[in-house]
């Protein structure tokens, strides 16, 4: 390989070790915040490995998306778990042995596959500007993929809001549905206070 210079090799192993170690730390550390941000670090290292394989755009996008996602995830963790940062001991596992066994077997099978399978030689060469090639692919030959992903994303937004919101169109006073909704929303019919809009 032309690109396997020492620098790239070292950088790759650095990324690999960080990705795996922090990935494991997610399930080892005692705090929700630490677990979430360990996962973020693992993702950043994965993005770094993609960068080393010249997939700069996807690498950056992985870093960008995952840091954002983990920042939001940490909020969910704290919201649902109600923990303080005091490194509360946290062991919330079930079927620990089975899970460990399954994951070890998976690793052995996949890992031996990775090492033993006689991988074919590389066919073709990457285009000089991978990002541009990707852009052209999704806007020309593979446009159908993007056209499918778009509606899926919209559907996800709608599903997400529909599942998680507590408000409905009946969160207003009286029968007239054209009335402005109450803010905060009513909780049941018993709390009929006045309209509170403090903006």
């Amino acid at each position: 390989m032309t690109d396997s210079s020492l620098v790239v090799d070292l950088a790759f192993w650095g990324c690999a070790v960080v990705a795996v170690v922090f990935g494991a730390l997610v399930f080892v550390v005692d705090s929700m915040a630490r677990a979430t941000y360990a996962l973020a670090v693992s993702f950043v290292a994965t993005g770094g490995a993609l960068l080393l394989m010249q997939q700069s755009y996807l690498g950056v996008i992985v870093v960008l998306m995952m840091v954002m996602e983990m920042a939001v995830m940490a909020v969910y963790m704290v919201m649902f778990m109600g923990m303080n940062p005091a490194l509360m001991p946290m062991s919330m596992v079930h079927s620990h042995r089975t899970a460990l066994g399954a994951s070890l077997v998976t690793f052995v099978v996949l890992g031996s596959g990775a090492v033993l399978v006689p991988w074919p030689e590389r066919r073709g060469a990457p285009s000089p500007d991978v990002t541009e090639a990707l852009g052209r692919a999704i806007m020309e030959s593979h446009m159908l993929v993007m056209m499918a992903v778009g509606p899926v994303m919209v559907a996800t937004i709608v599903v997400g809001v529909a599942l998680s919101t507590a408000r409905t169109r009946y969160d207003r006073l009286g029968d007239d549905l054209d009335q402005t909704p109450t803010d905060p929303p009513l909780r049941g019919e018993t709390q009929r206070g006045g309209r509170r809009r403090d903006r």
């Binding site: 790759f12 994965t46 394989m53 997939q55 991988w119 692919a137």
Partner: protein
């Protein structure tokens, strides 16, 4: 950095993620396991693309995996919120008990 080493690292990520997804009780932690598994898939695909057949269509597949990741997260968070609001729980076991 060869195709073997990249795939080895990817399978390590996938296995750790699998352990998390199987063993964790908290819904959000299960999602973290799934995320780690998808990261492994992403790395494996990236490695296969780069070392075996670096033409643009492979990259489109990676983009789709990334999109799948966001869909998983968004829907997962929404379900976790719904579960929490309805039952005050965030545990997969308790969610299973509700089913009965």
């Amino acid at each position: 950095m060869t195709v073997e080493t990249v795939l080895l690292v990817a399978s390590a990520l996938l296995s750790i993620g699998l352990y998390g997804a199987l063993s964790q009780q908290v819904v959000v932690m299960v999602m973290m396991g799934l995320e780690l598994m998808i990261a492994g898939v992403l790395l494996a695909l990236g490695g296969l693309w780069w070392f075996l057949s670096p033409d643009p269509s492979g990259q489109v597949l990676l983009l789709v995996v990334l999109a799948a990741m966001t869909v998983e997260m968004a829907t997962g968070f929404a379900i976790a919120t719904l579960l929490h609001r309805r039952t005050g729980t965030d545990m997969t076991d308790m969610a299973a008990e509700l089913h009965e």
